[in-house]
Symmetry: D2
Subunit: 263 residues, 4 copies
């Protein structure tokens, strides 16, 4: 279980959300509250959009709480759209390439959750990723594999349907392999303009996911970074929060998208 | 606040104590019980005596719980005298050179505690270390400075009196600087044969320290690595556990040694 | 292009070969002579057999020349069979999991060379590795993929034929993908008793490989670690050096094994 | 011996100088031409001024050539004043805190050179640094010590005279200690507006230092990053290049400043 944060709005310094708040992400790297694991010390990463079409990425294997570089970057970098993630590994090793967010072209992806029995379907899952995307697989995590599989399933064109297809596909592989552990998936995706945040689990127990709108900005978090009663709304289970480039925010039903596929 | 473990006895694999027990040191790096900080993820180190007069040292900046090298080493290395330490920094940066144990010739030293207001006396403390010892200062911690100051105060010849002198000296610098934060010091020293473990604080609140004798072996820990009722004895506050090369174990009064100096 | 060293014989301290000689492997990490790349600073690793059936492994992403832990370990660890490797990446990232040697059960493998156009066949190569072996794929290199594919091809039972089959298989994938860059492969394998060292390339230009026998010990290196005229023999191109557990050393023709497969 | 680069002018992406040119600093980390050591793989750092008064800092212990984070940052960060440095250690360990540039408030400092016999005067040199500055000593290098000593000598007010005083002071300590190895010092300092680059050695053999003016921008380098005949001028030995905030560039005599002190 990991912790993450996504921001879209007026450009602000990353430090304002990543380092400063009482329950900032850096704080959560040492003391998460709603996570199964209180410590998220298996690496971290930030991804942000600046003047280039592609996002900047800084990922490290050390815990976020002691990384001087992270503090300095967050103090300097101002961005209107950024992701930040602190990692608690579910088995794969602590390398930079296994830290979130993952980037592909203009896209960023980060994940909190787990493919149950991943080791038993890893190779088959990877085999479904086309060569041109697979070349971008730099690490070995289930999270990165889901991201690349989702890109292959049309993430750029229809992010909700594509993710539904991907989760269905992963579930299929799990069923074939007789895996009983659940697939739990809370994640965020952006193409540099719009933002999608998913919350789904095959056993109805997806990790927590919250958002807050304030003065035209949107903040999406795995757990509140300040007082719980300060306007945080839960993303309902089985749903996707869609914040389109034009600014409108709506909650779509991911379950429904999956059911349509099943039919 | 850090956690540590020292072993002397029949040669055993380090893994038997560092990795295997329910509350092993690796476990404590993520979940310490009696520490003020539950997570000790700011680097770690092991030091052990093998065929050479000087001990081997492995120190890393990553958390112990995710370090594959540590697991492999502890599985391979068998030793009759070794130290292991997981670090929770009290301010200095997370570098290998700031991780315990510290080595000097045949000696090893590790520490749990803190010099209150260290920044205000650091330079003066360092100025007291002779050049030949100061050349061995590789990091910037208060712990390493105490070790080198203790070596300068005669640690090799009279480990209890020398440490009493050193603590007195540090207290003197703190007083001169008007520092009100306490000096707390729980530490272990070995010369490759004998072992000393100190527990002292100027405010009567030194970090915990336990030991257990079993079939001729001695285990000294900052907190029990298995059930608390399995023969663990507390080292009393203000005392030093002395396990001499010949095998005898006794508890000496460190306070008394300090009082003698005061007189 | 990397540099490596394998030793089998009377137990010696690793430092005697890895750190001490004029052209030791640590020296070669900064100044290799016969390598296309003079600097091998993209991580390193050692693997050695001690009291356990499985070898110990220490791998790090920093250059070997500045790693204090490596120096300390090589000073302490004495072994009758060990591998050491300094890495110059051919494209994959610098993570511990991408450093050699790779371990599987009792086996160690290390490699100097490259699968030309690896990115274009990576997924297909991985798809050939059975799930139980694939679960042991911790990194993303071509080297580790060859090792696992070779294990799947019977490396444990017939190391020469299995490697011939594996190289043939990789060549087949390269041909299918229309890859024109060569496959070059100089590698060493051990099961903890016997040792095999391969030198082969599809374009007749495999990386260098030397060995020296001395007082019953065998040393295999990518380039001499001391004066070239001190008894070093070249492993001929297209050949495998076989040092069986019983001590006999012979050079077998790998090309022939491959030709038999072609027939 | 290290390699470095300083830029002041129209805001540009750091990548344009640090990563892109044929002999970019990243290239020099692996293949320096004019350095005594061809490889500068003992860590690196960048410092840049953005929207904050204080500069941003990114320092890492890995070689610059393989650091994905460095590439991404240099692609994203645009600045009108920045420093970049690749390190070849002269003895102190490879930690982030020992990597250049060093920061203090608005100031940045980086260095190529060495205090001969540093170990023998380290403690005395440190003792000359006032406590408030010494608290900012995070590492153990001679370079950082010179920087802090120069700040204590008035670097903020009169950078040329203060550096002359500091070098004189260091020479004094070296003479007292009977050190025969030379003091060689090529360095750059900025306060966020103006820039100073020093080239001096007690034996008349300071490391190389070049600069180029182009369309109102100034580039200072330890060796040219593109063709040597493209307008590079050498900073003469014993001189300081002064680029004041108003834009004028002049070369001042550091030797003279030192002689005045001697009088």
């Amino acid at each position: 279980m990991c912790r993450f944060l996504a921001y879209r709005g007026e450009p602000i310094f990353l430090a304002d959300l990543v380092c400063a708040p009482a329950h900032s992400l850096v704080h959560q790297s040492l003391h998460a509250v709603e996570a199964k694991t209180g410590t998220n010390g298996d690496g971290f990463g930030i991804g942000w959009y600046g003047e280039r079409p592609e996002p900047g990425i800084y990922r490290e294997v050390r815990p976020a709480w002691s990384d001087e570089n992270l503090r300095s970057l967050c103090d300097q970098v101002r961005s209107g759209l950024f992701f930040a993630h602190v990692r608690a590994s579910t088995g794969t090793s602590t390398t930079r390439a296994n830290c979130h967010p993952f980037a592909h072209g203009r896209h960023l992806f980060m994940h909190n959750g787990q493919i149950g029995g991943y080791a038993r379907i890893k190779r088959r899952l990877e085999a479904l990723i086309p060569d041109d995307l697979y070349d971008g697989r730099l690490g070995t995590t289930d999270s990165e594999a889901i991201f690349l599989a989702a890109l292959a399933s049309g993430l750029k064109d229809d992010p909700v349907a594509a993710m539904a297809r991907t989760l269905k596909l992963v579930r299929g592989l799990m069923n074939e392999a007789g895996i009983e552990e659940p697939l739990r998936f809370t994640a965020a995706v952006t193409d540099g303009d719009s933002l999608w945040a998913y919350r789904w689990a095959c056993d109805g127990k997806p990790p927590t996911l919250y958002f807050r709108e304030e003065n035209g900005s949107l903040l999406v978090v795995s757990e509140p970074i300040d007082d719980k009663d300060r306007g945080w709304q839960e993303v309902p289970k089985g749903c996707t929060l869609v914040a389109s480039a034009k600014g409108g925010i709506e909650v779509q039903c991911l379950n429904e998208a999956m059911n349509r596929l099943a039919a």
